[in-house]
């Protein structure tokens, strides 16, 4: 690879030792391949000599997928970062894995096209990382997640073969669906070196609405009602009472008033469509006792409505010192029960707990704020997580909607995945990676 593409220096290794989980594992070296052939050479060497390789995008993952927990090599894919083509007749883009998500979104938007998956990290996360984790985001309620936009891949197997999966067309059913097996496999089955992504026409109009409610139950009831009337908004976000209160403190007076829950709803479509939908939604909101229904028809006004929702994460970082950040999903009609349970847990433990997220999908991000220097708080926080996961599964939900398992959720994986299914996953892992060199130590595989 040459010295320009490899480093064993401590300062370089440290740059690739962490991700958004704030955990730190020093890799033994970092390597920067520039193409699939180099990736294949490295992986073949790893399989032959039995050293671990952890592929890495931007390191913005929330579950530890890009951290080399067992040492070995970090394979940084950020030098494979070309947008290879954007086909405006067939709505298909071909890109390398190191392309930053928002950069790709802007490039296709300039050509009148739309790549809907929008994780909050889009400004710095890479498409390769998005695929590895099957990233979601607010627009999933209408447009689905990353999985729904991948037509085909070029992938390097841990044993060094470069294969193509899937198609470059709208449809295709030849052979097993290796494409979707790779998506969400967290870099444990292969290294993606090229991806063919499905695009949509860019919506002509967008309308954004916000509303406040006395309690979460009322807000959730309203969301179910909107969708039952045949309206599919592109985003239905919520913040609970504690999230509103944190953001209010963070942004200062006048931006937000106290409430039991806040909804942010966005519609889009051809000219005319977003407006029709937004008007119907405003009607439903008012019927259900929403207060302060505000709506925005310009990008600037929409930005201002999004301000509170987007301030949740920074507000929680500022709240500190420590927090547990989780990502559960329940059927959306059961969301109020979960929010209430989190509220009771917060009262019982004395720990601040906030929840927010994608209510249209039933996807709840809850945060437990604690101080790790106080052992009783650490224990209480851990017990609360346990209790919430248990209740999630009781409600028919899942313990990770869009952040993945990695190391963060690995201790809980067997609550959701049976021993028989886990054993099948291990056999699949072996079918791809007989020497177990790719991203070792993740997902209990």
């Amino acid at each position: 690879m040459g010295p320009a593409n490899f480093s064993g220096q401590k300062e370089d290794r440290a740059c690739y030792a962490y991700d958004a989980t704030r955990r730190f594992y020093m890799p033994e070296a970092v390597i920067f391949p520039g193409n699939a052939v180099q990736v294949a050479q490295i992986l073949r060497l790893a399989t032959d000599h039995g050293f671990g390789v952890t592929p890495r995008g931007a390191g913005s993952g929330m579950s530890g997928g890009a951290i080399a927990v067992h040492g070995g090599l970090v394979m940084a894919m950020n030098r494979c970062a070309r947008i290879l083509s954007i086909d405006t007749e067939n709505f298909v883009g071909t890109v390398e894995p190191g392309v930053v998500t928002a950069k790709f979104q802007r490039a296709v938007a300039e050509r009148g096209l739309f790549y809907p998956p929008d994780p909050s990290s889009a400004d710095y996360s890479t498409l390769g990382g998005n695929l590895a984790e099957c990233a979601g985001g607010p627009k999933a309620v209408k447009y689905g997640v990353t999985r729904d936009y991948v037509l085909g891949l070029e992938v390097v197997l841990p044993t060094g073969e470069i294969i193509r999966t899937g198609v470059k067309t709208a449809k295709g059913v030849v052979g097993y669906d290796i494409t979707r097996l790779l998506i969400g496999s967290e870099g444990t089955l292969g290294v993606i070196t090229e991806m063919t992504l499905r695009l949509l026409p860019l919506p002509e109009s967008v309308r954004t609405l916000t509303a406040l409610f006395a309690d979460m139950r009322q807000a959730a009831r309203c969301v179910v009602e909107i969708m039952q009337r045949g309206i599919v908004p592109r985003a239905v976000e919520y913040m609970d009472r504690n999230a509103i209160s944190c953001v209010k403190n963070y942004l200062g007076a006048g931006v937000l008033q106290e409430a039991g829950a806040m909804l942010l709803i966005e519609t889009d479509g051809m000219a005319g469509e977003a407006e029709i939908a937004a008007e119907k939604i405003a009607g439903v909101l008012r019927e259900h006792g929403a207060e302060n229904v505000e709506s925005a028809s310009t990008p600037e006004a929409a930005e201002s409505l999004w301000r509170a929702r987007k301030a949740v994460s920074p507000a929680l970082y500022a709240y500190g010192p420590d927090k547990i950040n989780e990502d559960i999903v329940v059927p959306r009609s059961r969301l109020p029960e979960m929010v209430e349970r989190i509220g009771r847990l917060s009262e019982n433990t004395g720990l601040t707990m906030v929840s927010f997220g994608h209510v249209g999908d039933g996807n709840i991000h809850f945060n437990i704020m604690y101080d790790s220097s106080l052992p009783e708080q650490e224990v209480a926080a851990g017990q609360a997580v346990n209790e919430i996961f248990e209740y999630t599964l009781e409600l028919g939900g899942t313990i990770s909607g869009e952040h993945g398992v990695g190391i963060a959720k690995a201790p809980y994986m067997d609550r959701e995945i049976s021993p028989e299914a886990l054993s099948l996953m291990k056999r699949i892992k072996s079918a791809f990676d007989p020497a177990g060199i790719l991203n070792p130590g993740k997902m209990r595989l």
Copy 2:
């Protein structure tokens, strides 16, 4: 299983010996399990004793997926045919695999919900078969295919374990995506015993348009233009000159006039949306020189516009005696080139060849009409198929859009799938089915 659930009688076996490919392979016996536990017992026995088991839905598949080509047992899933629940708050349906697709569509429509995948066989095909083949249909251009509506499964592995895959919620990323690996695996990896399906709100309005064109190039240009204007119709179907002519002969005078190509376009949405989109489309059609633009706003009028398109298959069966029925996909902008190539091949061979299908997806169903009692026609037809597959791959396409590989496409599979990818698929097959008992002889696995 008892005599009521098992038959070795010739007349019963004959009923389960064929599918829509018209090929005939007599199974040694037929078995009718009623639940997952029985499926598990049979599969465990098969793995222990090494006999083949071919799971079967309605036997309406186009690639031979449900035929026991190596003998053994046909496992008919039609007694597992309950709709277990339809959740109108969370838009989720839970069903057994033997439920007929159209029956499920009607059941959810009665509750204001919508299951979009609509293979032409929907009136008799089963959801289990649809999942096994990843069925498509006209609405795929807007709504995607079967894969996009499956949240989770209960599956019996060939070794007898009953596992759950995926989730019952809108999102979920815990562990490998076994759900989508199963979809389109043509009954070679596991037997689906329950499925959790994603539903949408039922569109409030539908508009249907038809238009005639002097040639296919003009029609395809028009489709690209419609989509570039941000309109996503729910169906964009076409018929070429020969398909129009066959249908005209079949339906009799007055129904259809000769033309180079016909488009059928359907829009849907909330009240108001379908109309806005249909008007815009009618404008684009006229700008592009379409003749006889007709539109329908009632279900009856739409039915009449669909009549010609739906008559293609029966018209071709009546045309007889033999035909080769293929299912290719090319990027939609390249569709005119493929239609022209098929036209030239028809002229050169003297065989009637018609093409029709889902132009919005670039999914072409082409049929070669021949007489198998004339060896020179049989040879010419086979050569034409070869040439069309080659050209399909040259254009960046795939040799099966929605019918699957089974036995029909197996001889051609290695043109699209590399030896390295095929070898990986075989290792995956072994990870699921070490004794190779499930649906043996399919997909070159």
